[in-house]
Every structure is written in C-alpha cells, then in structure tokens.
C-alpha cells in the first residue's frame, strides 16, 4: 500500500532536484526579507532582538505562501493530477504525500537556515533552539493549511493572490504560538505551553487538512 505513496514522494523530490531554482527562490526570499528589516528599522541590537521572533515568523509565512501556488498547479496543468484521481489509493493520502514533499522542499530548508538569520537579529543560543523547534512544528502546519488554499484556487486566474487572501488569516494561530514561544524564552518563561499547542495543532492539521484538500481537488477537477 505504501509503494504508490513512495513513488509519488520520489517523483516530487526528483522533480524538485531537477529544478532547484524553485526551492532556492523560497529560501532566498526568506533570507532577503529578514535581512531587509535591520536596514529599515536601524541597527539597535536590543530592539532587533525584541522584533526577531515576529520578523522571522512573518517572513517564513510569506515564503511558504510564495511556494504554495505551485503545489498542485503544475500537476493540474499537465494532467497528472487528473491521473492521480484514478490511482487506487485514497486521494487524501496522496495529497498528504505531496504536502510532505512540499514541506521537505520548502519548509525544512527554512528551519535549517533560520539560525543564521537569528544570529543576525541578535538572538541568543537558547532562543535560537526554541525558534528552530517552533519552526519545525510550525512549518508543516503552514504547508498543510496552505494546501487547502492551493487546491481551492486550481485553474483560477490570479490564483496566487487569492491563496494569500484565503490562507493568511488561517496562519494567525501558528504565527502567534510560534513567535510567542521565542518571546517566552526571551522573557525568562518556559516555551513549553506554546510548543505543546503548536504540536497539537500540527497533529490536528495532519488529520483534518488532507481530506479537505482532497475534496477541494475533486471539486476543482470536476
């Protein structure tokens, strides 16, 4: 039963490797946005440090957002998405596999590069660890929720902007919890509550969103 899912995961990763510019643009966008902030608000280290959690999280949201449009649209355009409906596997699982591949290609690199940017914004080592943990729990949520928007805007003109309008409000909870986790450590409290809630949210999204996305794909292909 896992062979089709593995085949799909391998396919998406191979495609990403053949076109590395897609993944690199997302990371590049993240780096540039974060790097622009000190230029705009001045070099005061303490001030930058207090802004850092919010800046890093908003930049991560926008970077993921940027990559969402391509999640299904390439497959939609060349007809492979249609064939995927005919694969003898639940569409929800196939969608989940595609989202996992999307996270490996865009979310994980953001987590891995975030310490560098955190240093630039003057975060301390223990805060950087919490930031990475929060992003590790949070970026899958971003991919999972975003997939619903990507599926709902399949084949529409100006889909990218529409995804942003649909999905950005839904990104508020992970943003609050993720940035709050780092804030808590900064002020000497424990980040455990924030991280636990983020984890719970990820588990919930993991179970609920693939089915919603699958339903949206079916409707848009009808």
């Amino acid at each position: 039963m896992f062979r089709p899912l593995l085949a799909l995961l391998r396919r998406d990763l191979t495609l990403a490797l053949r076109r590395p510019q897609d993944a690199l643009t997302v990371v590049g966008f993240f780096v540039v946005v974060v790097a622009l902030f000190p230029l705009g608000i001045g070099p005061d280290p303490e001030f930058l440090r207090s802004l850092a959690p919010g800046v890093l999280w908003v930049a991560a949201l926008l970077a993921v957002m940027l990559s969402l449009e391509r999640l299904f649209s390439d497959d939609y355009r060349d007809g492979t998405l249609e064939q995927m409906l005919l694969v003898p596997e639940p569409l929800g699982l196939l969608v989940l596999t595609k989202i996992f591949a999307h996270w490996l290609i865009t979310g994980l690199p953001l987590v891995l590069i975030s310490p560098l940017l955190a240093v630039q914004l003057n975060l301390r080592p223990e805060e950087i660890l919490i930031l990475m943990a929060a992003l590790l729990l949070g970026t899958p949520i971003l991919s999972l929720i975003g997939a619903i928007g990507a599926a709902l805007t399949l084949g529409l003109r100006g889909g990218g902007v529409l995804i942003a309008l649909l999905i950005l409000p839904l990104y508020a909870p992970p943003l609050i919890l993720g940035a709050g986790a780092v804030d808590a450590v900064m002020h000497g409290a424990s980040a455990q509550a924030h991280l636990s809630l983020l984890g719970a949210m990820m588990v919930f999204a993991l179970f609920a969103t693939p089915w919603a996305t699958a339903a949206a794909v079916r409707i848009m292909l009808d």
């Binding site: 062979r3 089709p4 593995l6 085949a7 799909l8 391998r10 396919r11 191979t14 495609l15 053949r18 076109r19 060349d78 007809g79 492979t80 249609e82 064939q83 995927m84 409906l85 005919l86 694969v87 003898p88 596997e89 639940p90 292909l221 009808d222």
Partner: protein, 207 residues
C-alpha cells in the same frame, strides 16, 4: 480479463445551462468496444470523464458490475485506465521515468525491460532517456499510450487516442486494442478517424 459488465444508466450532463446529452444507457460486456461519435462540442469528452468517475453526471449513474464507479472496491483506478486530451507526463522526467513512476503509482512494480520494449514497439527506441520536454507532440502522445498500455486494467477509456499519431503508430495501437479485446478487456473510445477494429464493436452517437 474482466468478469463484470460496465453499465451506464440514464446519464445526463450539462455545460453551463446547456444540456449536452440525456438518457444515455449502455452495457458493455467483456471483450466489447464502444465507439462514441458525434460532432465537436456534443459532449464526448464530458461523457468519457463521467464514465471514468472524474466528473459527476447531472443525472444517472455509472456501474462497474453492481458497484457505482466512484465506490468500486480498491478505487476507481483499479478497474479502468483513462487517457484524456492531456498526456499527463512530467516534462522534466524522461519517458522511461514517467512510465515507471506512473506504474509505481498504480501499485504495480513495472519492469524496466517491459517499458523499454513497449517504447520501442511505439517507435521511441533511443528516446528513453530524453526529458519528455524535448519530444514532439506525437512522441509525447506515444509515451502516454505506452504508459496506459502497460497498466493492466480491464477497461480502457481513450479520448482521441489517435490525435497527433502517424500511420505506423496508429497500426500498433490498433493491434494493441484488438489484443486487449481478445483478452476480454473493454474499451470506450472517441475518435474522428475511422480505424477498422476487428472485434465486437458498438457505436454510440451523441447529439
């Protein structure tokens, strides 16, 4: 190959407000071919998408045996293969990779030798390791056909399979279709070209 009948009961479809067709009924038994004909815009592709479970009809139901096509045991894809207007190929992958991955997605374990032999029989020997992007329209169509023919499905639904193919390949496809019928497979096909097929052929005219 197939042991069940494929039935359409009182199918109707609309595009916008316009009724495309009404009350389409047919039963296809193992070893039979149904050719759907009609002028452009009469709903051939819509009918084929409904038959393959991709779209829902306004009225009526499609059955595989006694089960509605959407809820066949093991998924719709376990009983039928569909070739639409789009070739469903990944441009960045080679012909061979495209077919192997599609086979893996279908749950099979495709054999590399079979894939190469099938590509060669469709006149694509030497093009296996080229990204599909560099192939011509007709060659892409052939890769899509090779993918379909390598998936052992009892029912094949082919939407204009001859489009962009040259005479030799049409001949290969014709013998593949006849072999499929001889193995008690079923085929639903739309085409504008008259190609004589030996076997139990039926015709459905729309519009």
């Amino acid at each position: 190959m197939a042991d069940r009948e494929f039935r359409a009961v009182a199918l109707a479809a609309e595009r916008g407000d316009r009724r495309l067709f009404d009350d389409i009924d047919f039963t296809l038994s193992p070893g039979q071919l149904l050719q759907v004909s009609g002028r452009n815009g009469c709903g051939k592709t819509s009918l084929l998408r409904i038959l393959s479970g991709l779209s829902r009809p306004v009225a009526g139901q499609v059955y595989w045996g006694d089960e509605p096509i959407q809820s066949v045991d093991g998924g719709t894809g376990s009983c039928l293969g569909y070739l639409g207007h789009q070739n469903a190929l990944k441009e960045d992958l080679t012909a061979e990779e495209n077919i192997l991955i599609a086979g893996g997605l279908g749950g099979g374990r495709p054999d590399r030798e079979d894939v190469l032999a099938m590509l060669a029989s469709l006149g694509l020997a030497g093009y296996e390791d080229l990204p599909v992007r560099y192939l011509s329209q007709g060659q892409k169509r052939r890769v899509a056909l090779a993918r379909l023919l390598l998936q052992p499905r009892p029912l094949l639904i082919l939407d204009e399979p001859y489009a962009a193919l040259d005479v030799q390949v049409i001949e290969v496809l014709r013998s593949a279709i006849e072999a499929h019928l001889a193995r008690k497979g079923m085929i639903v096909i739309t085409t504008h070209q008259a190609v004589d097929i030996d076997g139990d052929c039926h015709n459905l005219r729309l519009g």
